[in-house]
Subunit: 231 residues, 2 copies
């Protein structure tokens, strides 16, 4: 959460980036030795970073067996998204009441930029603006505990939400999430905390339902390009 080690922080980010970027997917193993060599440190700091990422639910450390990127079964994923929705809902409702004028201007900017990216079909930009939209609300809640909790929960479902959507061949409608963000943003700017909360919960829930359709029976993300080409 808000620890504060030396270079452990950046190591944690480097490792979590492996997952966020999609290089490692749920179930993939993280070999301490290889990671140590890759990042030019010994196993000790690697292990500490892995330990923290396991605490936050992104990785899964199993005794005497390799750490893997955490896999969610259907029930666990439902719980993770339900909790995420509630926390994000809380952040949105507090943000509606507490955000500064500067925050509000920034929120408007992001929504405008998001609309442009959406119209242009710029998936990379839309993806980054999506993340920024949520970050603004986390920070706008003016509660570091809620903020950290929201970010941690978001990170842990990243392999199931963000990563698969970045695949080149995936063509989801960018306008659906954008319109939801727009409605949430409007409620926040109008200081309507109840509406902001409800819309956010609905937004996360929709996101979950969308993702659920991408999952096969094993809880694996369907490989679009690769698996379909081969099959």
């Amino acid at each position: 959460m808000e620890a504060g080690e030396l270079k452990n922080n950046t190591l944690r980010q480097k490792i979590s980036n492996l997952i966020v970027s999609g290089e490692l997917r749920p179930g993939d193993r993280l070999d301490e030795q290889s990671l140590a060599e890759r990042f030019g440190v010994s196993r000790t700091p690697i292990r500490e970073a892995i330990l923290q990422l396991s605490s936050s639910g992104l990785l899964e450390m199993r005794p005497r067996r390799s750490t893997i990127v955490r896999r969610f079964n259907a029930a666990a994923l439902r719980e993770a998204f339900e909790a995420l929705g509630e926390i994000e809902g809380l952040c949105a409702s507090y943000a509606a009441l507490r955000m500064s004028e500067a925050d509000r201007l920034r929120l408007e900017d992001v929504l405008l930029a998001s609309e442009v990216a959406c119209r242009d079909g710029d998936r990379t930009a839309a993806f980054e603006l999506d993340a920024e939209f949520h970050e603004i609300l986390h920070e706008g809640a003016r509660n570091h505990v809620l903020q950290a909790t929201a970010e941690s929960m978001r990170l842990r479902v990243t392999p199931y939400s963000a990563a698969p959507l970045l695949a080149e061949d995936f063509h989801a409608d960018l306008s659906v999430p954008h319109l939801e963000h727009s409605a949430i943003g409007k409620a926040v700017l109008e200081r309507d905390s109840d509406a902001a909360r409800k819309l956010m919960i609905k937004h996360v829930s929709n996101n979950f339902l969308f993702i659920q359709n991408l999952l096969n029976n094993d809880g694996e993300i369907e490989q679009r390009s690769a698996s379909r080409a081969k099959a």
Copy 2:
């Protein structure tokens, strides 16, 4: 959270017990070497346990300086309790909708036992039943993420909420929290999720206000027996 190491789990508990029991108070240092000798292991597993407890917010690891039991200033404590109230509120509202009949019977039992302990002035029993009441609701929410989050948040404010109240010389009115629990329990049993949530948020907030009065300017818990005897 739901890691799953070998004996690291029990080590984590042993160390967190030092704080829960009040042996170590906010700001106290945790020396890795001493803990290693005390628990008969090397520094490595101690360090791993400390790392996890820092992630959960109970301890504070500062680069190149001793780990200490986390200290909250007034603002941070307010945020911690605000977040705790919201999460506990969510748990209570879900519990109202999802708890099994067996859970509900257990909840009634705990409330009855609590009333007895309250009437008899049995502070130890009242304290344990208080914890059990909250645990029932965490589990009753039927969401492991919310449950783990609530328990983690509760643990991190323990040095400020539970520990000081156990002091022998401290005579708070046991009936106030009991009546609040009673009202929350009633709402849960009647499946009134909105009421359960609101009452829980209020309950945690009251708890915070009560604790705030025990704090001096430095954010330290007032020493009742010791400091007053010496002064």
